[in-house]
Symmetry: C2
Subunit: 149 residues, 2 copies
DNA sequence: GTCATATTTGACGTTGACGTTAATGTCAAT
DNA sequence: ATTGACATTAACGTCAACGTCAAATATGAC
């Protein structure tokens, strides 16, 4: 019972991810996406893994507003990490530990960065919330005086 | 004891905000910043209020990754809100309420937007945290087997 | 095989957000 | 009044992140 890897064309990837075909080719050209499988005639055949990678990159772009070059670095680190995981059995401990440490450091950095960003956003949000509360007080006040007339 | 409004030159604004003079002029040109006061010779004289506005815009850009045009809209709404507040006494209730309602709607929208963004970032963060935990387990495991040798 | 689509690469165009340079004016101090 | 440092506008340059168009294949249905 072999797992038939489903392949899809670039237009379906574009549809599923909400991007354009041009953007997908561009990201591939810039090294953010690995060159996908090709049909005999040279047409791009995307796997589900490819699609999820696209979605991850899109999230990094939209949520964090990062540039593609920064995203590329992040993805390279993530790739390295999964590489180390996959080669867990083949490589000796002494050679593996440094990689793991580096990955741990990178992950910690990312987590801190996100924590900081989240805190700032929450501060912004609560400032808005306060303004809204103040505004609501004004409004109810106005409605009361209007009712008295 | 009149409050002497301190004015500073554009280079000091640039220094305080971490932007360049060019960026400040550009933002002004694009309508994000109001034309500041000018000296007799036509040189820009910024007040503290101007500086805090710049900082607010910078936060919107850096934290949310918004485009300048979007930021411009947001700032216009905020300006409108403060206008309504300042004219609290002059305007009649019937004329003021619609403005307040619009501001309330805008604020609510912003708060929801931020809440959504924060939730997504937290999801991203916890996924990283999980990966890190997994990685740490691997590492301690490796150190143990290494100690046994 | 043929036809209608869809995909490929390549090249050039566009938009946003500034950087850079030049030519000229202003400020503050000596 | 002169000097040196900083400011002003205007114009052109740049870089990232795509859009658009064209000419040449590929694919899938008939």
């Amino acid at each position: 019972m072999e797992k038939k890897t489903r392949f899809i064309y670039i237009d379906e990837v574009a549809e599923r991810t909400g991007l354009t075909q041009r953007t997908l080719r561009f990201w591939e050209e810039k090294g953010l996406l690995p060159s996908p499988a090709r049909s005999e005639g040279g047409i791009r055949m995307y796997s589900d893994a490819d699609v999820s990678r696209v979605i991850r990159i899109r999230e990094l772009r939209d949520l964090l507003g990062l540039s593609l070059s920064v995203i590329k670095e992040i993805m390279q680190v993530e790739d390295e990490l999964t590489q180390v995981r996959l080669q867990a059995q083949q490589v000796k401990r002494e050679e593996k530990l440094p990689y793991l440490r580096r990955s741990a450091v990178m992950l910690t950095t990312q987590i801190q960065f996100l924590g900081d960003r989240i805190a700032r956003l929450q501060a912004l949000q609560s400032s808005y919330a306060e303004q809204l509360a103040c505004l609501r007080r004004h409004m109810t006040e106005l409605e009361h005086t209007a009712a008295e007339q």
